[in-house]
Structure formats: C-alpha cells, structure tokens
C-alpha cells in the first residue's frame, strides 16, 4: 500500500467536523423540518407520476407555479407594507384592483399602448398610495394595530365601492402586454403558454428589482433599518414617515403589477382581487411576513399545493383545493410559527 493511498484520518476528521459545523449552522431543527417537507414532496411526486404519468404531472407543476408567481407578486406587496408598519394591509387587493383599472383606463380611454400603460399605472398608484398613507395611516398611533386594521378595512370598502361606481360591475377584458399571445411551447412534456412564462419572468424581474432597490439605495437602507427597529432608526435620523410612505408606494406599485398580471388570466371587475388576496395572505404568512424571498417561496407553494391536491386527490377536487392549501400552511406554521423564512421574535417580560 503506497503512501498516497492511505486514508488521511486527520483530514477526514476535519472534513466531517466542517460538515457537522455547517449542519449546526443551518440548525438541526431546520434541517429536519426541510428534509421532512422534501420527503413528503418527493413521495407525493413519485406517487403522482406513477398514477397518471409524467406529462400530466409536468403540466400541473407548470400551472401551479404560474398561479404561484401571481400570488407571489401580491404577497410581496403585503410583505413590503408589513415590514414598514407591522400591520397587514387588508386593502392591498383593492388598491391593486384600482391600479389595474387605472391601467385599463390609460389603455382603453386614452389609447396608449399596454406596455406603457402598466408602468404608468404603477407610478400613479404609487403616488396615490403615498397620499393615502399620509392621510389615512400616519395620523394613527402606530401601536394601535386594531384601529389601523379597521382603517385599512374601511379603505377596502371605499375603493371597492368607488371602483363599482366609476367602472361598473361588468367584467372587462384586459389586454396582454406580452408577445406571442395564445401560443405555447413545450417544456419537458408540458404545454406552456407564452403569456404565463412571461408572467413568471416579470415577477422574477420585479422581485430582483425590489431586492436591489432595498439593498443598494439609501432609501432602501432606511426602509430596512426601520423594519428592523423603529425607535433606533428614528434616533439615527431616518425620517420614519417618509420611509413608511415609500413602503406603501412601492407596495401599491407591486400590487398594481400583480393585478395587471392576474388580469391576464381573468376579466377585471371591482371584486376580482378578492380570491387572490386570500391566497397571497396565505403565501405571505407561509413565507414569513417579513421576508421578501419567503413571499415568493410561499406563493409558489400555495399555487402548487392547490393545483396538485385539487388534481390528484379525488376527495379534494376543485372545491377543497384552497382549503387543503390553507391546511398545509397551518401544519407548516405549527412547526415554524413565523413562517418558513420569517425572523423570530425575542420576547421579554
């Protein structure tokens, strides 16, 4: 046996130690949680492919994921407002609906191209949301969460009614900003509509842009400081009012984008965001209310569970698909009470 063939015990030990240390770094509980989740997913996938074949499975994954991306965009908007004010904005869906209608007006009544109408509507809804924050949210004591929640619920009613008065309750078709409408391409056996692929791409780009905005700009830094500790960031000179306003504007723009993307799959009318809001609430909670990446992951999981459970389990069907998705969320939250990626809170007496 030559010298080189001999197993170097000390270096192996060191490597094992490193591996163990990195496992410790991830956290044993987290590692167990994720491996259990992964195991369930793998077993389900194998069972699903075995029963109804690969093509249907791939198709359902693609469908679920595209829904998931839309939920993710909306969940992202919720997370932005939660990070800024630690309240959940119940009016987020209606703000997005209003923004979508603004885009519709710019396209339909002014005759501008859709590709311009959507960014312009995002800008307008951002400005409107900044105004709403100033008038409706800032006057309240930030610690009176119940009053702020009621204020957002009132905003929900006002925007919903206002849209009804202005635009009526008939469904309207929203134009597509993407090329290759009604065309499909083949992805590993699944037929994917180009529109849906573009929706997913848009959401990914938007998430990257928002992350860059928060991580590289000065106002982004202020925003992150504020969401980590309101009092301390005030002490070091962050203008909390303006920064929260920025959060609302960003969230509204994001919501309008989500609304316009969701409008690609359905007709728009004042109540069209209602269902989406419940799913995006669920997605944001699942990912952790203060995690941007978690919102995307949560959206994808909710979309996939909905499609998979509804498609493969006869008992669930279409009626209970949502219920199943929400049940999965409860189970995951039982294990991780602050969502998959949410930060833990330290409590003191």
């Amino acid at each position: 046996m030559s010298d080189t063939d001999r197993i170097d015990v000390s270096s192996l030990n060191q490597k094992l130690g490193e591996a163990y240390a990195s496992l410790r770094h991830i956290g044993r509980a987290r590692a167990i949680t994720f491996s259990v989740l992964l195991g369930v997913v793998v077993v389900f996938s194998i069972w699903a492919i075995a029963t109804e074949g690969w093509d249907l499975f791939a198709q359902r994954v693609v469908d679920g994921a595209t829904n998931g991306f839309i939920y993710a965009a909306m969940a992202l908007a919720l997370v932005l407002i939660y990070k800024a004010t630690t309240v959940v904005n119940f009016a987020q869906g209606e703000m997005a609906m209003f923004g979508t209608f603004i885009a519709y007006v710019i396209f339909h009544d002014w005759g501008w191209p859709v590709g311009v109408a959507i960014p312009l509507a995002m800008l307008i809804s951002g400005i409107l949301a900044a105004g709403l924050e100033r008038v409706l949210i800032r006057p309240f004591d930030p610690s009176n969460h119940l009053a702020i929640t009621i204020a957002t619920l009132s905003l929900f009613l006002i925007l919903n009614g206002l849209a009804g008065v202005i635009w009526g309750f008939d469904g309207k078709g929203f134009p597509s900003p993407f090329p290759l409408r009604n065309e499909r391409f083949d992805l590993l056996g699944a037929q994917v509509e180009w529109t849906k692929a573009f929706i997913a791409l848009t959401v990914i780009v938007a998430v990257i842009l928002v992350t860059l905005l928060l991580n590289t700009t000065k106002i982004g830094l202020a925003f992150r400081a504020l969401s980590s500790n309101l009092e301390s960031s005030r002490l070091v000179g962050v203008h909390s009012g303006r920064t929260i306003q920025f959060g609302w504007a960003l969230a509204a723009a994001m919501g309008t984008l989500a609304g316009c993307l969701f409008a690609q799959t359905t007709a728009i009318e004042p109540n069209f965001m209602g269902r989406l809001l419940v799913f995006s609430f669920a997605a944001a909670t699942l990912g952790g209310l203060d995690s941007l990446g978690g919102a995307v992951a949560g959206g994808l999981i909710v979309g996939l569970v909905q499609t998979m459970a509804g498609g493969y389990i006869d008992f669930v069907g279409t009626e209970l698909a949502t219920g199943t998705a929400l049940l999965v969320i409860v189970v995951i939250l039982m294990v991780k009470p602050t969502g998959l990626f949410g930060s833990k809170k330290v409590e003191r007496v």
């Binding site: 009053a147 202005i166 419940v278 609430f281 909670t285 209310l289 929400l326």
Partner: protein
Amino acid sequence: MALVTVKQNSAAHRAYVTIAWIIGIGILVYIPVAWKVGFAPASIDKGFRITQINEVICYAVAILGLNLVIGYSGQLSLGNSAFVGLGAYTTVILVADHGWSYFATLPVSAALCFAVGLIIGVPALRISGLYLAIVTLSLAFVFPTLVLKYDSITGGPNGKQPGRGQGELHPPSWFDEADRRLREPLWKYCILVTMAAVLFLAARNFIKSRPGRALIAVRDNHTSAAVSGVNLPLYKTMAFGVSAAYGGLAGSMLMINEPFASDQRFGLQLAIFLVVGLVVGGAGTISGAIPGAVLYVFGPYFMSQWSNDQSGMPPGVRQSTAWLFDWLETRQGKGAIATVMFGVSLVIFVFLLPGGFIDGVRRVRARIIRVVPNPTWLRHRQAAAAVEEPAVVG
C-alpha cells in the same frame, strides 16, 4: 374634573348603578314597543324592523364571543364567522332533517362549536399575532367551501331552511298582540333578549372570575402570566372554545330569528364585519358588542337605503349631498356608493374614537361622575383603626 365624585359601594353609588340598570332594561323593553306603536316611519314594515333588532341581538352575542378571544385573551382570531355558521347549520339541520325543536338544538350547537373551537385553539398555541389572524381568516374563507362540498346535508348553494310546520316557534296564547304580523317577531324578541341577557351576564361573570383574570393576564403579557402560574395552553384554548361556543349560540339564535342558512351569509364578509363591530364597539369591553352589532346590521342597511332614496336622510345632509346623488343617477354601478359611504363613515369613526364607542362613552361619563374605589379590605382596616384609636389615646 368630574362634576360628581362618589365612593364605590356608598349609597349614592348604589343608587347610580340601580338607575343605570333600570334605564338599560327600560330601553330593552321600550325598543320593540316603540317600533310597534309607530316610532318607525309608516313606509317601513314594522315586523321587518323588529326582525332587524333581533338580528342585532344575535350578532351582539357573536361579537361578544369574539371579544372574549380578541379583547380579553389577546389572540387575533378572525374566523368566528365559521363558528356562527356552524351553529346556524347545526340548528337548521337538526330542526329540518331530524325534527328537533329549536331550543333542544342550542346545547348541541354550543357543545359542537366549543369542541371545534378547542381544536382550532391548539394551533393557536404555536402560532400567534398576525400569523394567527391570517390562519383564522382562512378558516372563515374555507367554511363556505365546506358548505358547498357537503351539499347533501347543507343544501349547498340553495341554502337550507326547515319545511312548513317544522319546529315553528308560535307565541303562546297569553302573549297578547293585536297586530298578527308583529306577534311572531315580538315573541322572538322576548326569547332572544332573554338568551342574550343570560349570555352577557355569564360573560361578565366569567371575566370577573379567576379564569377571566387569568385570560387578561395572558393578554397583557403572556410570559409574565406563565411565570405567575397561569396554565397558558389551558386558558388559551379555553378562550377559543368559549368564544366559539358563543359564536355557535349566536348562529342558532340567528336561525331562531330567521330560519335560513346559506353559504353566503357566513363567509369572509361576516368574519370581517364581526371584527369591525368589535373594534367600533370597543375591544375588551362587554357592552361594546351592542353598538358593534347595531353598526353591522343598520350601517350598511341605511347606507344602501339612502343610496336609493334620499328622503330618509337628515334634512341638512340631504340638500348638501343632492349633487352627488344627481351625478350618481347617471352611473351604472350607483348602488356601490353605499359601500363607499359606509367605509368613509367607518374611517371618520375610527379617527374620532380610536378606542371604540364604549371608550368614548366612558370618557364622557368620567367628566360627569367619578367613582372612587373603596374596597372592602380598606373599609375593614379603617373600621379597625377607628376602634383601636381610643384605646391608644386612653
């Protein structure tokens, strides 16, 4: 400063409390009589208005139940509409399919909702705050889908109601009422008001007892409550259970009032409005449930009345808003203005009274009358001192 200051348990204080009780009970008796005699505008069906008042009583019980879990134990549970629905369906199904009487279904629906509430309370031990709020809100979202899924027993989208002659509540012969149309609503008012009074007193005593104080300790700081020896899991799940039982009884009471259950009635909208009613009435107060329920029943109703016909509005408001309604006549979705008006008035209300209606009433009351605590142990000590004093001097 208050105009009058009275000592707790002094003769003046007792008189004040007695008068307040008499006025309160007087109002409860007066309401149906007022609508009956003709306080209601002639154009409105009086029986319908009394039915609406009955509805206020039922929703007040539901909001009271929600208050036990949100206002007193501090857990944001938004899914109580599901329990109201569960109670309502329990009652309707037992009456319509199994021939029970309404009153026999009450313990069943309370027990069933209590059990389900305990089960829902278990995840709430791990999940808290807004996470819990959203999880429970999804319960409210799922309930109508379950109703539609099991349409063979719930009637699905057509709703469910007892057939003719099943479990009808006829007023007894001694219940004298000349107007036949008013007989049944008035009799139901008597039943519901009695039930609600018992439930309100029970809630008040529950809050003032040892478990109630434990709940409040959990709300204010659950770590310190646990350190002081409060069994957190027990009290948290119990708050959920009791709250759910109240919700279920409210659902059964709604069915006594109007025996018709549908998935639309117990959905997300009810869940949200119960919370709105809770906050508007006043979180953490027993009596706040009543103004909250009044708001839920009459707020949207009058707003939509006014959006169709402005003659019922207060005169000054009518003239100054005429242009708005003239403009609305040209719009297709003009009915939606009711939602806008309700939302705006809600915002104004929350601005003026962020602590709720009862909080506002208490602040006004504090300017007029102030009750100085005079606990028994203090009086005993004073009495003992008065006895001992001469001995020291002598």
